[in-house]
Point group: C2
Chain length 721, copies 2
Amino acid sequence: MSKCLYFIFLLAILPLNLRSQDGYDLWLQYYPIEEATLRENYSTQIQGLITYGSGATLDAAVSELEKAYAGFFDASIPTAISIKENSLVLGTRDNLPAYVLPSLEGEFTKINSEGYIIKKIRIGNTPATVITAETEAGLLYGTFRFIKEMQLRNAIDKISITDSPKIQIRVLNHWDNLDRTVERGYAGFSIWDWHHLPELIKPEYIDYARANASIGINGTVLTNVNASSVVLTSAYIEKVKALADVFRSYGIKVYLTARFSSPMESGDLETADPFDPEVKQWWKDKADEIYAEIPDFGGFLVKANSEGQPGPNNYGRSHVDGANMLAEAVAPHNGIVMWRAFVYSEHDPDDRAKQAYSEFVPFDGQFHDNVLVQVKNGPIDFQPREPFHPMFGAMPDTPLMMEFQITQEYLGFSSHLVYLPKMFEEVLDEDTYVQGEGSTVAKVIDGTLSNKKLTGIAGVANIGTAKNWTGHPFGQANWYGFGRLAWDPYIDSEEIAEDWLKMTFSKDKDFVDEVSEMMLDSREAVVNYMTPLGLHHIMDTGHHYGPGPWVGNLDRPEWNPVYYHRADSLGVGFDRTTTGSNALAQYAEPLREKYNSIETTPEQYLLWFHHVPWDYEMKNGKTLWHNMAAKYQQGVEEVEDMVKTWNEMEEYVDEERFATTQMLLQIQLKEAKWWRDAVLLYFKQFSEMELPEFVPTPEHDLEYYQSLEFPYAPGISPSWH
Amino acid sequence: MSKCLYFIFLLAILPLNLRSQDGYDLWLQYYPIEEATLRENYSTQIQGLITYGSGATLDAAVSELEKAYAGFFDASIPTAISIKENSLVLGTRDNLPAYVLPSLEGEFTKINSEGYIIKKIRIGNTPATVITAETEAGLLYGTFRFIKEMQLRNAIDKISITDSPKIQIRVLNHWDNLDRTVERGYAGFSIWDWHHLPELIKPEYIDYARANASIGINGTVLTNVNASSVVLTSAYIEKVKALADVFRSYGIKVYLTARFSSPMESGDLETADPFDPEVKQWWKDKADEIYAEIPDFGGFLVKANSEGQPGPNNYGRSHVDGANMLAEAVAPHNGIVMWRAFVYSEHDPDDRAKQAYSEFVPFDGQFHDNVLVQVKNGPIDFQPREPFHPMFGAMPDTPLMMEFQITQEYLGFSSHLVYLPKMFEEVLDEDTYVQGEGSTVAKVIDGTLSNKKLTGIAGVANIGTAKNWTGHPFGQANWYGFGRLAWDPYIDSEEIAEDWLKMTFSKDKDFVDEVSEMMLDSREAVVNYMTPLGLHHIMDTGHHYGPGPWVGNLDRPEWNPVYYHRADSLGVGFDRTTTGSNALAQYAEPLREKYNSIETTPEQYLLWFHHVPWDYEMKNGKTLWHNMAAKYQQGVEEVEDMVKTWNEMEEYVDEERFATTQMLLQIQLKEAKWWRDAVLLYFKQFSEMELPEFVPTPEHDLEYYQSLEFPYAPGISPSWH
């Protein structure tokens, strides 16, 4: 059979998206458009590409268009030297010919500096599709959007889209160590091959930048917040520069974590006191050294006086003192400082959930203009479900940026299919009421609630050397979804799931309907089989793998699960009401009042705010114990449904990704049962009530579950050893 | 342009082997055969595949044939239900129809149990190609060989090949830790994803097995010799079983490293004394437990009483006592024990190079039949060049297996292009003279010198999660070459290089000639720019990255480079003659005599055996100092030639692998200069002679080179922290 015949034969029996693949291409898969009329229509609409202007970012946009066109049409994209019928015109506002602009003036009023316009217009009498923006970055985003429209098989003949990011700083936080281990990383080694930099530029670096640019991520913090000062030495700055040079073309700035004690470790000062002139000078000089190599360096992310990290408190100075000193060092270069509010102290007897608020809110308004305070979504630590962090809305005169965790430290590592945008959306939509109803967390983050000049959002990356980047094929959806919500915190997570599925797997409606529903339900499933009804932080300690509600022997009280569930013969849950730690006082009314009473507290936060009797009768007339058991059982059954759903999808998915997901779902099911059995057996000792009949008899006894040890569970970096 | 036209167009401008690729396919690349007559000829010769017998290994062979045929001809391999003209017949001797055998009787006398026969014969009047063997493993090897003939584009119409492995145990040693770091690993994380086993079977596991089977490797030791007893717990045995189940079909047995103190750590005994009945019983039970899950488990590899590892000496017992105890535990299951001879003690004031011999040779003949003593190629530790280990030939009544290091711990990590088979060949060809001339190391290893029943060879793997498995594209050649030499320790390393290049990159003669020469020269280049003239172990300590001849502050004397070069105002080198440590007494005559005099010692071993005056006049009439400088300079120039050679190969190699190799060669050149400058500046202090004019002025002064620190150099596993 001739090669030509063979290809036709192959394509006949096997759509390209069924060819086995390792998932490396993420959502940037440009399958041939097989539907003839659509194919015809698209190619008619793209008669000749013509670009105005020049520069690395424009080149990146053009090269992406070439890739996509070659994938869609198995041919090189036609180019034009002048605008003719159905040309595709690319250029920023400043670079477009004057006669193109008139019909776009209206659109330009709708976009900001990173926004874009994609519009089919008439230039004179010539119809053409224009992609334009104020900046080259916007142009790149518009190009990816135009390609996406074709990936989704949307009509483009009358295309008219304007869009702009609602948040300025959209960054990934890599908790990557310089030895290439990744703290809380479950997708292999760090993709940053420091040893071979600056000489060796890996293709992964470019594809990482393409993927991020395609969803609008415009910054990356390369190093772990538990930082090493070595990254600030000149040898490493040269390595960082090599990465910055790659990412620049894709509109991505590079940031580093700054270890507060660096002047003593990487420099040779006696102190790191932010009030010490030599220390200030050291940071100024260091910033100058970095910016000399990387003119568009983004700035620093700092974890200070938290979990053993050094910080200004070591010298009796405040977080403001520390943050402002660094801010002054980078300010001349338009750099920023992202200062984490994730602080809590074993010396503070107060409820851990209250400490960040107590420590930071008094400083509202005292941080320099180029400082962002980075706050985790919840007051404890990236749990399957937490109420929103009370700092959101509580510091009107300080730019707060959101920190989400994309890597699944507390949500099943890279083994569990959990669609996180559903959780991100829940947090962003929560109403802080600080300025009355409608004061959502999203409005705090995008700055609209109190007119912030500087806004930002960060996601702790789930990326590693795994061939498919994230380990779990569906982990890619969390990276993708974070980017989409960073661009626009108001989009529906369902839309995001559908877009991702269509671009990543298949456009078949049955597949997309079934699997998007599975994804959307997956978040509640993990809450149910791990920490339902407001339970939190009862996972095993250190590695956070599996259940460990019984752990109570760690030095720091707030590192022990027993600290969080407080189970006893009377009941279970953390009383954070006025009769307890009164953490709810950190929320605005009417939330305070609502959470202060068991009756009005939403069941999903019940044990977060209340210590509830085991026999407390809940809305459904059943006891708390019965409901807790029911939730755990429900979680297991929801995973069983996910297994069933996926097993029916074989016809839509390539062999490798289908089988991998299928095997991983078996791990998820096994671990969901493990959670149910271990936690219920543990709490049963306190409730002294029988397991409801709908819960299968646990496979093992409590002693067995308590005896399990996982010395090599992934994601623990040397900084915790 | 239609898809069909486009493909033809694409193929016209771009042979498949130029399509950019990440190197994941290794040497198993089945490009379409574009040469029309050859294509015609091959397909005529393969009219219909017919197999006799059944089993997983036969299935593996068939599936490989299908892959290869689809790649060569873009079509499915034709099958036949009975032998017809030009059938391809596959089956073991026992399974082939009786009427096929007569014309093969002669061949069967030439092969052993793992050997194979590939022969074009007439069955009755029907010409057919038969691939047969005594065992299914042999059948698989024959299949890969048949495919290789087509990869090399050799004629197959009169094919007649018989081949058998000359060594029985051909294993890779993975120094992989259970936390997925790899000791002395420079290709990323461990490919063993322990956390997701046994459920998640990655495609890499199967492709790893295919690659090994294709070169005849029949065993893999999954874990680091600096071992964790956790791998012997039942939870991990279940994980190991999952891998064994994958590898079994490819004729690969799984082995584990046994930490000698496991009965105390993984069990709860008070002691690990090999004479303690409970300890013996613990190991017997553990072996039974493993074999119940993995009936063909290979056995244990043990590093005992070496570099801090526990062992029988801790209890006043000998290596024989320890090895035999473990041997008794696995003997009932036909398991073996590989006991490493890599021992040296800081308490032994004697020359480290002598210690292994002194400790093991007295035990010759006392090890059980299922014990192999595993000896490194040289008496120190995988240096760029060492004389062969004196134990080879010195224990006629003990099976000695060779341990080569494929990972480049002392040879430039994964940054340097160094073709190791050239070095392996040098060692195997060395003459021990123990039974007169011709008593080569190869003959010791393959057992022919003293009729060993059990023979083996091990290679410390250079494999990791790097997309191309080995990091450096040419690192694959070292994995491939080790396998080829393990199968036949007498093949020419040049032939291996040419085979690998043709299967991996291009069959173009100009390319193969140029690049194979570059590969063959690369080993001498690294010796020249790192440790010429018999210098050894002068690299920086701990991570072994870069030069560190000045290091002399480590507690253990034999961990200090100064211990090995002994430079002083009089000269440089380690006197191992009768006037010195007399290490040469461990070699047979005439080597002893030859090495005892400076004049008769080959220059490549000069400073290994002698402390030589700086002004000693060498064969070329120049001083030692002049010659040392010349060697370092030559090494740098040889790398410059490699750079030039590779730059001319762009037309033959795909973009990704070409660019990656080009960038890595720049690192190699930079580091070669670093070595030259740092070492010469250091020794210059002692020689008090000027650098010859042909050596460029060093870029920095000695203090600079001595100040360099690499806290995050790769390959140091936690066991060294």
